[in-house]
């Protein structure tokens, strides 16, 4: 009888236990004795039976919810990436997707860097784990578990070998050095190739051709060494900027200073004086191309003396300077890629230095490559049939493009200083006017210097066709007042136009009318607390083209608007030249380790913790991102 009792008790205790407890136990452990300013290793162990699957943190698919691990604590200055074991890849017949998961006991790990001004004592770090588990037939709904680990800080200077987060800054997939290295190469090479076709680049091409054409006439000048020096000028400039940022931020731990260096790229692209100078320079170039001004630039570079030896020296120096000038003029188009590499450089560590140096070198070399080729064979271009007329026409066409580029540079200081001479509508009209002039020129309605223009009809027609294609969206935009934004354009056209013209002047006013807190984080936070809604942050920039695309095309969609209704919205500019902007730029860099816009975050106003954030420009999937933020907010606020 007693035996039965024992068996029954055991049986029921077991079933009861098995039915109620979630099949996973989370244990968190860490280094227990550390010093201020040192790294603490944290291990999050999820214990479960072999049959249970817990899903990958990083390889996210449509279907099961990914695991999330958030580490928090007042004593932490930086948090490293959470590292998970290589997930198992398996087809999920329910969702009809490949899912990524871990089976049975799983060990996640991360590192945090402690603040360096901590007095000795006992502290706590909290770890939130959010996960769902499934087996073949069942799933447990997602739960959040909170663990706390105790850390004892002993007195003493931080030990050197324990002051670097090895898991930090690996924001891309993959935990091993190889894949992040590959990523870097892909970014650098891809970015460089993209930069070849940027409009900032080709106004320089006729100058290169005529300069190297002149140089090649002189037999005493080694053509390949001139080309190499020219390439060195281009690549060297980028490498130099990378090095400069690395050294400036070497050992700097103040995030504000780091942000400043990382934003050098932004500064160059948006500095009023620099853009004014470039604008004037391009107008000058245009007039020169048109033959209205006749300055022998190449001659000036080669001038001083006609003596062969001197000449060669000047040619070498000239080609190097031309390379540097070329790199700087192209900067305003290449800044998205360069900026990304600069953020890595600004991390102030040896790895950061190495990575940015490598990235900038690859970028610079790849970027310089076609232009070096061009400089090697300028004469072959000149020897094309009917080269004289051909060159003349090409020069004038380039001249028009340079005029357009000048307009693009000039509206930057116009906005910056609030002059208001070049609002969006005027810029659009100017582009149209320039385009129409170009068409008129190609149709032989007028010419410069009365040159012979009665040939190459087919090429002219192609030119007219291309110009018309480019003008069409500009015209549509111009006739879509009051915002001068035509919303029916394909996205790439939109992106291109937004890169070329100033944002509508009423952007902020419209946003404020729609309930956005523009450049008012504190006000928005207070409001979000009052209303009990999550806070949506839109880190944006006046000069950020993709931000405009998101704001104009994605934000007004019905489903997005519905999500926005359940949030308090704040739009924070990071590139206005006021102190607030630098505060917000710093905030973005400190909290989210990024310096590129757009960047979107949904956060919980009660403790300003991140619910979800994005890597930036996500025209697709933005809806999902928002609903996920709302969902997490709702779940979190049920406790």
């Amino acid at each position: 009888m007693f035996r039965y009792l024992v068996i029954y008790t055991f049986f029921y205790a077991c079933t009861c236990f098995a039915q109620i407890v979630n099949p996973v136990t989370i244990d968190v452990t860490s280094d227990s004795l550390v010093r201020a300013g040192e790294v603490v290793n944290i291990e999050i162990s999820a214990k479960m039976e072999k049959q249970w699957k817990i899903y990958s943190i990083y390889k996210i698919v449509d279907g099961p919810l990914p695991t999330e691990i958030n580490i928090k604590g007042d004593i932490i200055s930086e948090i490293g990436k959470v590292i998970e074991p290589e997930p198992i890849e398996e087809y999920d017949p329910g969702f009809d997707v490949t899912s990524f998961y871990h089976k049975g006991n799983t060990l996640f790990s991360s590192q945090v860097l402690l603040k360096d001004d901590l007095p000795p004592g006992n502290y706590e770090i909290s770890v939130m784990t959010y996960y769902q588990v499934c087996n073949e037939r069942l799933c447990y709904p997602p739960v959040e578990k909170n663990n706390v680990v105790k850390v004892k800080v002993e007195p003493g200077e931080p030990r050197i070998e324990k002051t670097t987060l090895t898991s930090l800054k690996k924001n891309h997939n993959g935990e091993n050095g190889l894949s992040s290295f590959l990523n870097l190469i892909i970014i650098a090479v891809g970015g460089a190739i993209l930069s070849w076709v940027m409009p900032c680049v080709y106004p320089m091409i006729p100058i290169i051709i005529s300069f190297f054409g002149k140089v090649s006439e002189d037999k005493n000048i080694g053509r390949s060494s001139v080309a190499a020096l020219y390439g060195l000028g281009i690549a060297g400039t980028f490498i130099f900027i990378g090095l400069l940022v690395s050294f400036l931020s070497w050992g700097v731990e103040d995030a504000a200073v780091q942000t400043g260096y990382a934003n050098i790229g932004n500064f160059i692209a948006t500095n009023a004086w620099l853009n004014l100078a470039l604008g004037v320079l391009f107008i000058f170039f245009a007039l020169w191309m048109f033959g209205i001004i006749n300055v022998n630039v190449t001659g000036a570079l080669l001038s001083k003396t006609d003596q062969a030896g001197q000449n060669a020296k000047n040619a070498y120096l000239g080609s190097f300077i031309l390379g540097v000038a070329f790199a700087i003029t192209s900067f305003s188009c290449t800044v998205p890629v360069v900026g990304m590499l600069l953020v890595v450089a600004a991390s102030g560590t040896a790895t950061g230095l190495f990575t940015s140096l490598l990235g900038m070198t690859i970028y610079g070399v790849v970027f310089a490559f076609p232009f070096v080729i061009l400089s090697l064979f300028p004469s072959s271009l000149e020897k094309l049939p009917r080269s004289g007329i051909w060159m003349e026409k090409a020069k004038v066409v380039f001249g028009f493009i340079e005029l357009a580029a000048a307009v693009k540079f000039l509206w930057v200081p116009d906005i910056e200083w609030g002059i208001g001479l070049l609002p969006r509508s005027v810029v659009l009209s100017l582009f149209l006017l320039i385009g129409l002039c170009l068409i008129a020129y190609l149709s032989n309605l007028f010419s410069f210097q009365g040159s012979d223009v009665n040939d190459q009809k087919s090429i002219s027609y192609i030119g007219i066709g291309v110009t018309l294609v480019v003008l069409a969206p500009l015209a549509l935009s111009l006739f879509s007042g009051p915002t001068y934004h035509y919303s029916g354009l394909p996205r790439f056209a939109d992106e291109l136009i937004e890169a070329m013209v100033p944002p509508p002047p009423t952007e902020d006013e419209i946003a404020i009318k729609e309930g956005w807190y523009v450049d008012d984080y504190d006000g928005a936070l207070e409001q979000a607390k009052k209303q009990g809604k999550p806070l949506f942050i839109d880190f944006t920039g006046i000069y950020c083209a993709n931000c405009r695309v998101m704001e104009r095309r994605i934000f007004p969609l019905e489903n997005i608007k519905n999500h926005f209704d359940n949030m308090v919205l704040t739009r924070l500019y990071v590139d206005k030249k006021d102190s607030l902007s630098s505060v917000y730029a710093q905030m973005q860099f400190e909290r989210y380790k990024t310096a590129t816009q757009p960047y979107y975050v949904v956060l919980d106003p009660s403790n300003e913790s991140t619910l979800v954030d994005t890597g930036g420009y996500i025209p697709n999937g933005f809806d999902k991102f928002l609903s996920r933020g709302l969902e997490k907010f709702n779940i979190k606020n049920m406790d």
Binding site: M1, Y4, L5, Y8, T9, Y12, C16, Q19, I20, V21, N22, G63, P64, L65, D92, P93, G94, F95, S99, Q132, C134, E136, R137, L138, C139, Y140, P141, P142, V143, E144, K145, N559, N562, S627, R628, L630, E631, I635, K636, M638, D639
Partner: protein
């Protein structure tokens, strides 16, 4: 054997109570509104004693009849419904989630069952747990071409509360999905399925009740 049964009753009672209690502590771990957790415990204890009575009453029958608990949930258009909306029909109440692969695997079979037997009085009701906004679930159900009604939270975590109530009262306990309850025309739970099943299993079981 009789001896065993005598032992069984107090043990069952004790077990039900202890489940209720540990359910409460577990409740706190799981994200459920604090204000909700207390009433659940109270009702679960009430329910367990009810269940005990029920099991006493039906000591001789193989399946003790348990009345399906009521619930208050919203459909995907925001209308608030309770169980009485389906009274008088044979109901398959299935708790599921949009994040749950095994649940999604069951959907085609449910669609087919609903197609064939809805006219004969079969109602299939999917209760979506922790699956986000109604719009989200709507998109999901359109994607999988779900033809039977889906219910979910009104504004808090009501679907989970309903799941909890059903789990506790039927004794399966628990929190894993899919869990499907077969309810007869008189509103009694006649069968419980924890985990995914093929459609023919459901069909075989529900046929006699139609």
């Amino acid at each position: 054997m009789r001896c065993n049964n005598i032992f069984l009753i107090p043990l069952l009672f004790f077990y039900a109570l202890s489940c209720g209690n540990s359910a409460e502590t577990n409740q706190e771990k799981i994200r459920t509104a604090k204000k909700n957790s207390k009433p659940i415990t109270v009702s679960s204890q009430k329910n367990s004693s009810k269940k005990n009575k029920a099991s006493k009453k039906n000591q001789n029958s193989a399946f003790p009849k348990i009345k399906a608990p009521d619930f208050n949930l919203a459909d995907l258009d925001g209308n608030i419904l309770n169980f009485s909306a389906y009274e008088g029909q044979v109901v398959m109440l299935t708790f599921w989630g949009t994040w749950c692969g095994p649940c999604v695997k069951e959907i085609p079979d449910f669609i087919e069952l609903y197609d064939k037997y809805n006219k004969e009085g079969l109602e299939i009701v999917g209760i979506a747990i922790q699956s986000g906004s109604p719009e989200n679930i709507k998109l999901f159900s359109e994607h999988y071409k779900i033809n039977y009604p889906i219910l979910t939270d009104i504004n808090g975590n009501e679907s989970y509360k309903a799941f909890s109530d059903y789990g506790t009262i039927s004794g399966v306990g628990m929190r894993a999905v899919p869990t499907t309850f077969l309810i007869d025309r008189d509103g009694y739970i006649v069968k419980t399925y924890r985990g995914a099943r093929p459609g023919n299993v459901f069909l075989k079981d529900l046929k006699p009740y139609l």
